[in-house]
């Protein structure tokens, strides 16, 4: 059916634009706060719970 084919083309056009918009967001630099957060989480875990400072 022509109608179906048109709708498919339309969906293609929309998805192509969608991917461009999404790619623009993917290309944004990840804020440092997230990298900092991940390393903090990791650090906290590697440090066993201590009653007090060992120094």
């Amino acid at each position: 059916m022509a109608q179906t084919r048109d709708n498919t083309k339309q969906a293609q056009v929309i998805d192509e634009n969608l991917k461009r918009v999404y790619q623009d967001m993917l290309d944004q630099k990840v804020p440092d706060r997230f990298l900092d957060l991940l390393s903090q989480l990791k650090e906290q875990e590697q440090k066993p719970e201590q009653g007090g400072s060992s120094r």
């Binding site: 109608q3 048109d6 709708n7 083309k9 339309q10 969906a11 293609q12 056009v13 929309i14 998805d15 192509e16 634009n17 969608l18 991917k19 461009r20 918009v21 999404y22 623009d24 967001m25 993917l26 290309d27 944004q28 990840v30 804020p31 706060r33 997230f34 990298l35 957060l37 991940l38 989480l41 990791k42």
Partner: protein
Amino acid sequence: MNADPRDEIVEHLPALRAFALSLTRNSALADDMVQDSLVKAWTKIHTFEPGTNMRAWLFTILRNTYYSNRRKAGREISDSEGVMTESLSEKPAHDGRLQLADFRRAFAKLNDEQREALILVGASGFSYEEAANMCGVAVGTIKSRTNRARARLAELMHLSENEALEMTDSATMAVVSGNKVSAAG
């Protein structure tokens, strides 16, 4: 020594943030949600099944965070900041008939569920099954959400079937895909 699956999280940060931006359409809110999701993912890593799709797992955490915030707020969060609609139109428009800025504006007008379905299936490349799993709904629901979302976008952009056909001419396709128009031969 087993690798900590959490070391893989960092690779998904750009995608997680893009997903958050498309859901919230507000970069401050998106970043807060990414932050919350990272902490949750870190502490709930035991709920991640090794060998499964970590990106899907992270997206699921993020969307759950978003919808639980939305429930608390009692409404959809509006595109107050206009993050989706702020234009990248500094880029030359070529002769692309579908202006990206217009597309962003239209996309931001979809409801949360429709935006989500389109981003998961149309942009991120998840299958309908994966998207359905992540959203906790039936596959048919995801299909109908994406179809309705595309129809609504077409309507918002006054995109008739004929125009859609015109836009797939080779020049426009080249603009869309970022390739040069190749001369025959």
